[in-house]
Assembly symmetry: C2
Homo-oligomer: 262 residues x 2
């Protein structure tokens, strides 16, 4: 009876989450609909006076890392670029308030949604590129990089807050899950110096990856590594690809108070 | 044995999620640590040339709603303010590229993390206010408003895409969960006109709420309704208060392909 119901419903989320293989059919359906709607809400060029010149990724990373401990994740990534562009380019960069994006820290004022490094990187990419299609591609590539790379790999010349041991793969650009997985791996609590050190290094990694993309773009060499709106087409809704981090019985029971209770 | 283990561990996430009441103790511990760290990473004033004058919330909502169908969630909220401020204030607003925040749509280029209306509202709040503490309070209040209000309540004079029937309470500023709950309630798929209509109206609601806050701030009347970093203190990690939307066995099995399969 349940099989009949599922057959009638076609490719449902239940099918998808139980891994029946029907995902491929669902993806095909969603992709064709998405393609047909793309004309109606297509990308477009726009004017921006925020000019970009190629920067040294290592220097962008260093400035971002050092800024983190005052400005936190989002504004520190913006600082990694804007502090240099204020002198190397000038113009509108001189009046752009770096701290105007500090609210994006901790996944929106500590709400644990989108990692602030993504909002900081998006801010720079959006201000610099002059076509919504380019920003879309770069942000999508950044989310893939963030989700499927063991981070943080950035190693400061002199650690500011603490030494840390572990890197983790978030599987998502969501702050709560990303930092939670790392905290579990490291045995650190959120308010420990180690956690701040980890987020500072992660911010440096994201800023450096963004810098490489923008440098390639200036040279006319940037090409998207991943298909924009891949997740919407694959899952039929705005989403990530880490479904079982929430849907399913394997959600980690992280003891986030571990260090506080010592 | 498990009881002994939990007693040793003190207030663990397991305790919290199973609702043993020990949350209160955990909150007290986390809050005191948070308070002691507040001095080290405190808020600060900064300079911004993006001046604000009081705007009519209804007009901000109308412009946001109408912009949605081209610019999507984040940039449409920014447009609701910037299009008016370009003429009423001028200055830096004339050179701020509204479309530079379009990447924040769909929870970051469709990744379903932070609802783009929050990023759009944060962008305006951050550019206008000149103290990171104010932006923090307003963004926190906006996340509470978004999470615990039945939305969208905005009713356009003439619906552009579709008529819709339902409002839902998201319990979170996360795009995937917010739009998923509404889609389930309405029986609509993500690519349906009804879903676009819902997000356009939601963007108008968020823009209007933001406008009311900023108008109060200009008048010296804005006071935070909620305690900043409440979630970090309460849960020991960047987070929302909808824990069981992911942790637990009651995660909705939404058939997001319902309409596509007709």
């Amino acid at each position: 009876m349940e099989e009949k119901h599922e057959a009638e419903a076609g490719v449902s989320r239940r099918n998808f989450l139980s891994g029946t293989g029907k995902l491929i059919a669902g993806t095909a359906i969603a992709s064709s609909v998405l393609a047909s709607q793309a004309d109606k809400v297509s990308a477009y060029p726009f004017e921006t006076g925020f000019k970009y010149v190629k920067l040294d990724p290592a220097e962008v990373g260093r400035i971002t890392y050092e800024n983190y401990f005052k400005r936190w994740c989002a504004a520190s990534v913006v600082a990694g670029f804007a502090e240099q562009l204020q002198t190397k380019v000038g113009g509108l960069w001189k009046t752009f308030p770096i701290d105007s994006v500090r609210w994006a820290h901790g996944g929106f004022a500590g709400w644990g949604a989108l990692c602030g490094t993504m909002s900081g990187a998006g801010t720079i990419v959006g201000l610099v590129t002059n076509d919504t299609d380019i920003a879309e591609e770069m942000c999508n590539d950044l989310a893939f990089y963030y989700s499927y790379t063991e981070l943080p790999s950035y190693s400061p010349a002199k650690p500011i807050k603490a030494t840390i041991k572990n890197m983790t793969m978030a599987g998502t650009p969501v702050c709560h899950i990303s930092v939670g997985k790392w905290m579990k791996s490291e045995g650190a609590a959120f308010l420990d110096a180690e956690r701040a050190e980890r987020c500072a290094r992660l911010a440096a990694n994201v800023a450096m990856e963004t810098c490489k993309m923008l440098n390639d773009w200036v040279d006319g060499k940037y090409k998207a590594k991943h298909k924009p709106l891949f997740n919407v087409a694959a899952n039929g809704i705005t989403s990530q690809n880490n479904c079982r981090d929430c849907h399913g019985s394997n959600v980690p029971v992280a003891d986030t108070y571990a260090t506080l209770e010592k």
